[in-house]
């Protein structure tokens, strides 16, 4: 988080003051907490579940702020976003009971977001948005009782809903606090016994970021 803030401040200082914020391209850097919903995995031998510890996420987005230039469309932004989420496996749940696990699940995603903004008289800008794209879900060396469980990845369709508030710090710089519901469409993996299973991936994310207009 410290590096994201530093990077944002540096970009703000480097940006020429003559380009006042009247719409146009922008860059966002953000990071924060990511919580994965408990996962139900479905295989030919039955179902088994994963639960993950709270983790972290970081991302960057390059976008275009429509501001008031397109009144027919409205006030808002479109952006392409790169994101990385990681959570450690807490435990795996089988018919015979829970067992502590290790390893992590990561999701590297490319999303295309459309965001609607409301700029009232308050200093805060509220926004909501939708995004769609693709994500690579990786089960990185998942283990239970030192036995391998899964080590595989899959690329699937992903979508997200985002909402939050932004505060204009300078004419070109915004502080952004947001929530994201991010879901991937049924990734499929192969377990350590060679059996395929269908999984799930839904996360809730709290992000803090900086957005700088060019």
């Amino acid at each position: 988080m410290k590096y994201i803030l530093l990077a944002g401040c540096l970009l703000a200082l480097l940006a020429p003051a003559a380009f006042a914020a009247e719409g146009g391209f922008y860059l966002t850097l953000h990071g924060g907490a990511a919580m994965v919903d408990d996962v139900e995995n479905d295989s030919d031998d039955g179902t088994f579940n994963f639960s993950f510890d709270p983790g972290w996420q970081a991302g960057a987005a390059l976008g275009y702020d429509l501001r008031d230039a397109y009144p027919n469309i409205g006030s808002g932004r479109v952006e392409m976003e790169f994101n990385w989420r990681q959570n450690e496996l807490d435990e795996a749940d089988f018919k015979s009971g829970d067992i502590a696990g290790s390893g992590s699940i990561t999701a590297a995603s490319v999303m295309f977001n459309t965001i609607g903004e409301y700029r009232g008289n308050l200093p805060w800008i509220t926004y909501v948005g939708l995004g769609a794209g693709a994500t690579r879900i990786t089960l990185d060396d998942l283990r239970v009782a030192d036995s391998s469980l899964a080590d595989d990845d899959d690329i699937v369709f992903a979508w997200q809903v985002l909402a939050g508030v932004a505060r204009q710090l300078t004419p070109r710089l915004y502080l952004d606090l947001g929530y994201r519901y991010f879901a991937a469409l049924d990734p499929e993996f192969t377990d350590a016994n060679g059996e395929d299973f269908e999984s799930e991936y839904v996360t809730h994310n709290l992000t803090l970021g900086l957005r700088m207009d060019f």
Partner: protein, 382 residues
Amino acid sequence: MKRLIGAIWILMLLLAGCGDPDDPTRENDFVLLTAITIQSVNPQIAAGTSNQFFAIGNFSGEFTRDITDAATWQVAAGNEGVLQFTDTAGLANGKAAGLADITASLNGISGALTGFVVSDAIIQQLTVTPATASVAKGRRQQFNAQGLFGLPPDSFTQDLTGSVTWEATPSGVATINAAGLAQSVAVGDADINATFANTYGTKSGTAGFAVTPAVFDRVEVSPATVTLPPGETHPFTATAFMSDDTEQTSATFTWSSSDTGVATISATGVATAVAAGSTNITASTGGGSGAAALTVGTLQSIEISAASNTVQIGGELQLIATGKYSGNVSRVITSQVNWNRVPTNAATIDANGLFKGSLTGPVTVTATLNGISGTKEITVTQ
């Protein structure tokens, strides 16, 4: 700002709790099996009897699981004359007196039980339980046999239910199978005999089995399930059975519906569907009751059909409206629907769906009932 952050965290936690997975159904086949323990139903057995062994797997100290069916069972070389496994699920027969070492193996891990005793102790007593039993004709009774082997202080008891020979006399009153389950056949008294014999001795035990006249057993309502559209009637029938499955012809029944808002039932068992929903139709008699499930379907769509899609001016065409109800039930509802057409001056339709063309061109016909409509286009020609 603090409130906003707090609200977002609460929202995240609430959403994170949504959609919890179902209870898992898959065994943990990832953790390594590290040890197997063999357990026995009996600490020792008499020759000529059987014993069930169980294999309990220890998986890396994390959990244990019964792996009896998955394990491979073996009697140590040289002990085959003492004990022999009769199936792959840990059931073994004691062939002759002696000590036997056995192993259960899975995935390269083995567990052992050494010195399992197959005894040459002589059977001293065979007890059949219950000593006396009385059931109504048609019903069954489980008998068990327990043997006492040897003399104190080395005597031991063993369940011999599956190792004895069972006999019921006279067989016209009762029969009994190899597992000791007696079936009553006719009113009367029977003896249930169990006989154990091995190389070292023979013993019998007896129990009394009285079969009394059949008693009321149950009421069956037919049909067991039925789906009707609202307004329709359907007859149910009830039959009372005795314990020997004969019909109790003298039984009279009282009918009831658990939800009369869904369906009512007459004193003679004729149900009338009232409104969409489910109800239980119960027939009660002195001894008990039985029930059937009645579902009243909801009108979901209306289809209009006709012999032709065209009719000449002045000609007539009979339209038929068919209602599709939930529960996959269809009924002709031609005279129940409200008929309409557009344009109104191009044709007439009476309450029974008789269409008469008066102007050339397409006419859209609509049949409506309870807010559900179906349409069909009829072309009026010269």
